[in-house]
């Protein structure tokens, strides 16, 4: 199965062409003000470099968050537009699961954490057994230290949220026997996303409009209203 995968949920943007788990091409760029200017260029290069025709892909997979709202809009709109125009199924893949899948090591708990700004992280908890990730806690947005304190076992903490707030969570993580993955491993990668998509999300892929963002954090207007 030939997959075009896209992730723009964090300050890094990446896209990959992956064929049955084999990475044909992947490109990642960080620190751009807005992925809107780069994403389609990256995708075009992947097709150009590999010589693969756009029409020959079987599936498009996109990272649906949680993450930067702006980033998600760029990635999902692009993926929806491509899937619609190429008449290919679109699969939405949770970004936290992509990050969790990028850990090395054996069985155990994995906690992906993505920087959510405002001194918060998007986080959830997976248990890995025999290489398969099973979500044991739903995605949430909260103070990074409060999240680590709430963990009941030793987990691998990975993602931009774990590296950005390293100073804040390191002591608590160590006390709980958690390890914090190096920063570069925690950047979501389109290749990991494609592999996850093929294993787990290809079956549920469908019309592009069926894919929606996993914002986790509601619009401020909802929060203001709830306070009233």
């Amino acid at each position: 199965m030939r997959i075009l995968s896209i992730d723009t949920a964090t300050p890094s943007a990446s896209a990959a062409l992956v064929d049955d788990g084999r990475i044909l091409a992947e490109c990642l760029i960080s620190g751009q003000k807005n992925h809107s200017e780069r994403l389609l260029q990256i995708i075009d290069r992947l097709f150009e470099w590999t010589g693969i025709a756009r029409e020959s892909i079987d599936l498009i997979a996109v990272s649906v968050g949680p993450g930067s709202f702006t980033g998600l809009r760029v990635g999902i709109s692009t993926a929806q537009g491509l899937a619609f125009a190429l008449d290919k199924p679109l699969a939405g893949v949770p970004t936290l699961e992509v990050v969790a899948s990028q850990t090395t090591g054996g069985d155990g708990l994995v906690s992906p954490m993505i920087d959510a700004r405002k001194q918060q992280v998007y986080a959830c908890l997976y248990r890995r057994t025999g290489g398969v990730l099973e979500q044991v806690q739903p995605a949430t947005v909260l103070d990074p230290l409060a999240w680590v304190e709430s963990l009941t076992g030793s987990a691998v903490l990975i993602g931009t949220g774990a590296s950005v707030y390293y100073g804040l969570i390191a002591a608590c993580a160590a006390a709980k026997g958690c390890t914090i993955a190096p920063e570069h491993l925690g950047i979501p990668r389109a290749s990991a996303l494609a592999i996850l998509a093929q294993v787990k999300y290809a079956g549920s892929a469908g019309r592009p409009e069926l894919v929606s963002a996993l914002y986790v954090r509601p619009p401020d207007a909802f929060i203001d209203e709830a306070k009233k």
Partner: protein, 333 residues
């Protein structure tokens, strides 16, 4: 050339198909008014999320209504700005992806230019002319020499006319969107019941100001009705406020015609659908022997047919593909 237009600059997700820059084959507008109503105005984050849900279904519907396939589309025009950045990003990126996947040309359009050209979808309007773009975000008077050549003669120095409607409707507890509610209520009111200022009416410029008018309504309510405005007074208040807005707009616009020695004026933008504005502009333009070109309500509001129309002047098969196109939140025309 058959062009797909896409517009997501504010709170309407819109797609349209226009043939040869003149024939509207479909014009789909999915409004989000109901989602923003309870907040008394547009919430940008909600607007962006709704666009994301709607963009592909709206494009699909535009094709269906035109009895076309995507393969029939020869070019895409998308609103690139100005507008809400999150909203614009959805349309811009979807349009880029579709055009790229289909290998067809794509062009980014200034939303204001779309509005300027909306009246031209319905009839041939003499050039040069004066075009008034009046909406929730803009109150601009342009001297239009020809397509692509516009001179901004005047604009609002504070609130746009539509914004003033929304704010006054909010302070009178009338709900959202203000333009529609006030226009309806004013039908049964006396426009001379309350005396509100016509700001900048005797100023030589073509600029507007509506913020003071809104404040005048606020103080009128505070001073005369400290316990709340009685139900039966609301139509008079609405009608008097509306008349002040209409007088300012009509006078300034016709004054621009006279100063520029132009005998044709076109009205466009959401507030150009206002019944009182249309009526008064008609009467007073006639008195001054100026031909008035009104736009159908459906083309006054934000729509994608006008974007496709603007695209028809710019799209060409040899254009380099705009890979780096980005949304532009502030983009004066």
């Amino acid at each position: 050339m058959i062009i797909l237009g896409i517009e997501t600059s504010c709170d309407e997700t819109a797609a349209a198909i226009v043939s040869n820059g003149s024939e509207i084959l479909s014009n789909v507008i999915s409004t989000q008014v109901d989602y923003h109503k309870k907040y008394g105005g547009i919430v940008p984050e909600i607007a962006s999320r709704k666009h994301q849900e709607n963009i592909i279904p709206v494009v699909r519907e535009a094709l269906d209504r035109a009895h076309m396939q995507l393969q029939d589309i020869q070019g895409i025009a998308v609103t690139q700005g100005p507008g809400l950045i999150g909203s614009l990003l959805v349309g811009v990126n979807a349009a880029k992806a579709i055009a790229y996947a289909r290998s067809i040309p794509l062009v980014g359009i200034n939303h204001l230019e779309g509005h300027m050209l909306a009246p031209h979808l319905e009839c041939d309007i003499p050039l040069p002319n004066i075009t008034l773009v009046v909406s929730g975000g803009h109150t601009n008077i342009y001297y239009m020499e020809k397509v692509g050549s516009y001179r901004l003669l005047g604009k609002t120095r504070d609130d746009a006319a539509g914004e003033a409607y929304d704010k006054v409707a909010k302070l009178l507890g009338l709900g959202y969107p203000g333009g529609v509610v006030i226009d309806r209520l004013a039908q049964n009111g006396n426009p001379a019941a309350f005396s509100f200022p016509r700001p900048m009416m005797h100023d030589a410029s073509c600029d507007f100001s509506f913020s003071g008018l809104k404040t005048a309504v606020l103080y009128c309510v505070k001073n005369n009705f400290p316990d709340g405005v009685p139900e039966n007074v609301l139509p008079d208040l609405a009608a008097s406020f509306q008349q002040a807005v209409v007088d300012s707009i009509v006078e300034k616009t016709l004054q621009a015609c006279i100063v520029c020695k132009v005998s044709a004026v076109a009205l466009t933008g959401g507030v150009a659908a206002n019944s009182r504005l249309r009526l008064h502009m008609q009467q007073r333009a006639q008195e001054r022997k100026i031909s008035l070109y009104l736009t159908s309500t459906i083309l006054c509001t934000d729509n994608a047919a006008m974007i496709a129309k603007a695209g028809s002047f710019k799209l060409a098969h040899d254009l380099p593909f705009p890979y780096e196109m980005n949304a532009i939140s502030r983009w004066p025309l």
